[in-house]
């Protein structure tokens, strides 16, 4: 799943006919001032300024300011841009008009195994969390294009009456169209508000998750996906991602500050079992990593380099199941080169390395790993006869 920030997310909704507040995304006060001269609404409306970054709890962090006129919005922008929050520097803010309203509602569309669920509630904001039973669901099968009446029944079911039934049905229909056509995995508008001046439904705040795998058929997705962790990617993480994007197979790397057990296992499945084993043994993970799909040895070497560069590590777990087609000799060659490089740079002092693996050319690969003992590495090598995660038990034995 790929998270999209509010700006591009609102852009996609607008594309499918959903009314959103006026908004601009700016990277400096000057830009906002310039836009203020050209756009009437910035001068006339009350404004909201929010940090446009993948950050949770922005309210608490003071990164959301409401009810501002343009000069106050400019001041807020100036204050927010450049602020360092954890590892994220705020580089953009989104400035949008406040919509005077009394009523708040809820609408979401999500992917299910059978198809798609459209959710509607006649309450919104934080109220919806505590009144989840008021959220009504329209379950659609894969490929089903529902008629307008289906959405109207949903709106009625959720307690809408009078002219609001058709309005909410129309809103939900557009949400579904946006979801279906934009390869979304989750769309949530909370709250949907009823604008006082013209009684139109407006999407005030939105969560947009898209299917990154479908990017190839959406040439207009000209925005970057946001990190899902509520923090920016580190330099090493981005370097591994850059490698991952251009190779056959995959390499993955996520840093976890404060850990002492470094992970360098193979396989998207096995890597999580290795992580589980570390946690179950009371160890502290220093990272998540994974390589699979017979990646080139140089890519595994880059990954190894990043793993060896993790601060304060005591053990490196080079685990892996019995590979189907990943060449153990070749991928281990990349790891060995990475280890040698790290050693020559004075890393890996006092670090124990634990290896377990099987698969094509396992004997040659494991022999090459074993031979590292002669080069001064503290390395323990096991073959398929040692159960998968036993090396973690051995590594973390007190």
């Amino acid at each position: 799943m790929a998270k999209v920030l509010e700006g591009p997310g609102m852009g996609l909704m607008k594309k499918w006919g959903i009314t959103v507040p006026h908004y601009v995304v700016v990277t400096s006060v000057d830009e906002l001032t310039r836009l203020g001269q050209a756009n009437e609404w910035l001068k006339k409306s009350k404004l909201v300024v929010k940090a446009h970054e993948a950050l949770g709890s922005r309210f608490k962090l003071g990164l959301v300011k409401v009810n501002l006129d343009l000069p106050a919005a400019e001041a807020a922008t100036k204050e927010m841009i450049g602020r360092l929050v954890g590892s994220i520097t705020v580089s953009q803010v989104i400035v949008s008009e406040m919509i005077p309203h009394k009523e708040e509602y809820y609408c979401a569309v999500k992917s299910t195994r059978e198809g798609t669920d459209v959710l509607v509630a006649n309450c919104g904001g934080i109220e919806v969390e505590s009144n989840w039973d008021r959220v009504k669901r329209l379950a659609l099968e894969v490929g089903q294009q529902p008629a307008a009446e289906a959405f109207e029944r949903l709106a009625k079911d959720a307690g809408f009456t009078g002219s609001l039934v058709k309005k909410m049905a129309d809103f939900a229909g557009k949400m579904f169209a946006c979801f279906d056509n934009e390869d979304a995995q989750y769309l949530e508008v909370n709250p949907v508000v009823l604008r006082e001046q013209d009684s139109e439904l407006i999407a005030l705040d939105a969560v947009t998750l898209l299917d990154g795998d479908a990017k190839f058929r959406h040439p207009d997705w000209n925005f970057a996906f946001a990190a899902e962790f509520g923090r920016a990617y580190s330099r090493h993480e981005m370097e591994v991602m850059a490698v991952d994007s251009k190779i056959k197979g995959s390499v993955k790397f996520i840093e976890i500050p404060g850990g002492d057990t470094a992970m360098l296992p193979a396989g998207g499945g096995a890597s999580v079992y290795y992580s589980d084993a570390v946690v179950a043994r009371g160890g502290k993970l220093a990272n998540y990593a994974e390589y699979s799909g017979d990646p080139p040895d140089w890519a595994v070497e880059v990954l190894t380099d990043k793993v060896c560069s993790l601060p304060g590590i005591k053990n490196i777990i080079v685990g892996g199941a019995i590979a189907n087609f990943t060449d153990v000799k070749k991928t281990f060659g990349g790891i060995i080169n990475g280890f040698r490089k790290a050693q020559s740079e004075g890393k890996l002092k006092g670090v124990k390395i634990w290896v377990r693996r099987g698969g094509p050319r396992e004997k040659e690969g494991l022999d090459a790993m074993r031979a590292l003992k002669n080069e001064g590495f503290d390395i323990n090598v096991f073959d398929r006869n040692t159960p998968l995660t036993d090396i973690v038990d051995m590594a973390l034995q007190k």
Partner: protein, 606 residues
Amino acid sequence: MSILANKDTYVVIQGGVAGVNAARRMAEFCYLIKRSLNVLAFVYPPDAGKTNEIPYGSGLVAVPIYKTIAEATHNHPQINTSLVYIGADRAMKGGMEALDDSHIKVVSMITEGVPEKDAKILGAHARKLGKVFNGPSSIGIVSAGSCRLGVIGGAFDNLVLSKLYREGSFGVITKSGGLSNEIIWICSQFADGITTAIGIGGDAYPGTDYVSYLEMFENDPQTKAVVIVGEMGGDLEERAAEWYGAKKRRTKLIAVVSGFCQESLPKGMKFGHAGAKEGLKGEGSARSKSDALKKAGAIVPATFGALGPAIKEAYQELLKSGQVKEPVEPAVLPKLPKTIEEAMKADEVMVAPLIRTTISDDRGDEPCYDGYPASELINKGYEIPHVVGLLWDKRLISKQEAEIIKRIMMLSADHGPCVSGALGTIIAACAGIGMSQSVAAGLIMIGPRFGGAVTDAGRYFKYAVDNKLSVDDFLAYMKKNVGPVPGIGHRVKSLRNPDKRVKELVGYVKSLNIKTPCLDFALAVEKVTSVKKDNLILNVDGTMAAVLVDIGFPVDSLNGFFILSRTIGLIGHWVDQKRQDSRLIRLFDYLVNYAAPKRREVPPLK
């Protein structure tokens, strides 16, 4: 018995290189279980009409490639299964094509990164048609002793170690491709092995879920227990638990779930497969899944490491209750023939080399000339003439010798467009012929009358010097045995109009204070011959030959100096004509002496 894939499964593979690799793996399995190759066709439009050659044992099987699934199943009506190896952007179309073919009952998609929407549409379409859509991102399906679909099971040795040549009693369902092999191996070591193992793929919405396969296993009498390897995220494991707990099941269910580490990770941090994402409201955690499975009566080992012993315990119970018997292993299994390289590595075969070389080797990271790495030669200041010395005479020549060679090359690089070689190249270039052929057209002119006299000149001057012949004896010998002396005589140059190149070369070599017996002899010969006839002078071929013999080059290499040097000129002529976009040329009639008989009547054919 088994599920999904068996002795009657015949396959079409949709896709290119990855599909061919899978077919090779499948052929290894077929060979192990002594079954003919079950891949009958490929569908890959760019190569339609050709065949893919798949190694089977020590032979090759030619498998035809078609443009469409319909063509493949029309020509091979036994096909009932398709494996999809098409890129993510076209996978959906390919999967639909296969599902819509009436012959095909099972479609397994190996492609990774398929959009979720596409996977859901394919899954729903298959269910509507009553077919099976497995994947995407599936590593494959293998039924022990009967059928392998995809690369699942790994290398040949692993197939044997994991006892995939005969049936066991355990079914396996995993999301992870890498772990599928691990579980198959564990089942073969802690129990009697597997019936069928299925990789359902790690995506959020696999086309077919655990429940459908559990149902199939429940209906397969050979399968006595099923091992599920689950992951956090989604609700597939919960659904499996619900199915298992719904009523008394014949099969035992053993399950592990990964993702417990999530509990101690920083908030929001997730990793693993695409499907391994906790729900937005916290559902789908590893703990809730394993609790649900436990509650439903499944055996849920605490860790992955405890899976082996749990499988062993289940197997022992099955043995005790008489539901399974200890398997009988076949006495002999086929061995996969080794490639020559593998056999040589294992010291099992000796091969008589076809050719022998003594000059160069580029098997390492760079070429070595007579043992010297090219880059080291460059960095230590050696030049082209030294490379000539190494490759032609296997020795590092001196700086002085290199200078002589360099001068010889510079003097012989070209001699204008009119000489045979250049003319040949120019005519070819004007006819639109490519560089290598045009240059070759020039090079083939080099022979006894044009540029090819260097070797012979060197040979006879050396003969005379070696045998201490006088000039008169030498000329007599040549007259009697050879004819005109190679290296002596020029078409246009003469004593009065000397060849400046000869003068230059002789002058330089003479200035070096080195011993030049051949050159001295050649000059002595010239003195005698040029008196007899003005143009019987030492020509450039003869001069080069004598000098090169004097600095130690073998006689047989001497023509090479002319060929090498003149190639520079010939390439120049070709490029020159090309640059000018020269037109086709032919001789003018007035340049031909038509000496053939005058036009006359053809007599009647007898």
